[in-house]
Symmetry: C2
Subunit: 222 residues, 2 copies
Amino acid sequence: MQQTIILVAGGRGTRMNSALPKQFITIGGMPVILHTLLNFHSYSTDFDFIIALPDDLFADFEQMAERHCPQIIFRLSSGGQTRFHTVKNALSLIKSPGLVAVHDAVRPLVSHPVIDRCFAVAAREGAAIPVMEVNESLRWISPEGHTPLDRSRCRLVQTPQVFRSDILLKAYQQEYNELFTDDSSVAEAAGFPVSLVEGNRENIKITTPGDLALAEFYLKMK
Amino acid sequence: MQQTIILVAGGRGTRMNSALPKQFITIGGMPVILHTLLNFHSYSTDFDFIIALPDDLFADFEQMAERHCPQIIFRLSSGGQTRFHTVKNALSLIKSPGLVAVHDAVRPLVSHPVIDRCFAVAAREGAAIPVMEVNESLRWISPEGHTPLDRSRCRLVQTPQVFRSDILLKAYQQEYNELFTDDSSVAEAAGFPVSLVEGNRENIKITTPGDLALAEFYLKMK
């Protein structure tokens, strides 16, 4: 069965205090997005990769990939106006049924057991996403004020979010809605249930210089 | 007006993979709890400090403080069975009216503007706590299943949580309830409203080796 990884790098990070797009920030001399690509490639050399990037970064990306991981075959797809549009564009490149993982390009540290769980549960149930418990107290803001939120009932959502391709293709035929913050919300809005699996704490989304320092630490530990 | 800082270090961290209690883990050769103490002391030399610790760590703490910051005067208070009991013990040492900040000993990186905001708003409104927006997607688990949670309406709660002393002393006369996860929830349960002020991203709670690495990075940046 075909297994596709869509690496979503459609946006332009503005919190990194850098002229470089955030997905091209380097750790140990290699761009974050290539750490992510190599992490999946080391899990399975059978994955099909689609890299979703702004068009004007295509040439830069190809050069970097040629330099750091010429062995990996990938296709490029144009980033859209929102994450929804970026993923929708990438899905149009998928021609045969299988499983599709949508993953944030700036999460190089997803563990292989988490990739494993997401694919296994998605194959069986249709859709699976990794989540983590929340370690800090939370509050809920409402028009009437704010109240404590029971953190034991909250989960932080990570990626890869993995789906049977027929489900994800169908879900992305919906009109865009600004409540679509991730792929699971798109799938659910189309009536498809999503299973939760356990993520890993190190699987952070790198969006600030602090995140980058933490990712460097975790990569050294590996 | 008297301003008291209660540093809460009642628990024993088990996630740090270390035989040392988490509040004694060092950064740059000095225990985290002393980084926290010095941070508040550098904001104002007028603070009264109460350090809430398990009894059997009193002697160790006094030695470390004597070595790293002999200029700071503090009182020690016994840690209780829960955070609630630890704070309640510490409050019994407060004899004159004023403002009381309850702060996690393992948050050495609260910024001075945040301390400023918390005290200013608590002086005016009675109670203030620092909060941050959530950067990741969230889900809500219910008996019926799980649904996306609107993260724009959620806030992560930090410390210091600052109160007029009469409010906090009154609130802590309540019976213990396991829904009391922080001081603001205790105050609210007693009918006192709590104001939210903006926290700072670096103000992390150090509970894992990754947190420690991130805190080291932030301390170097300062």
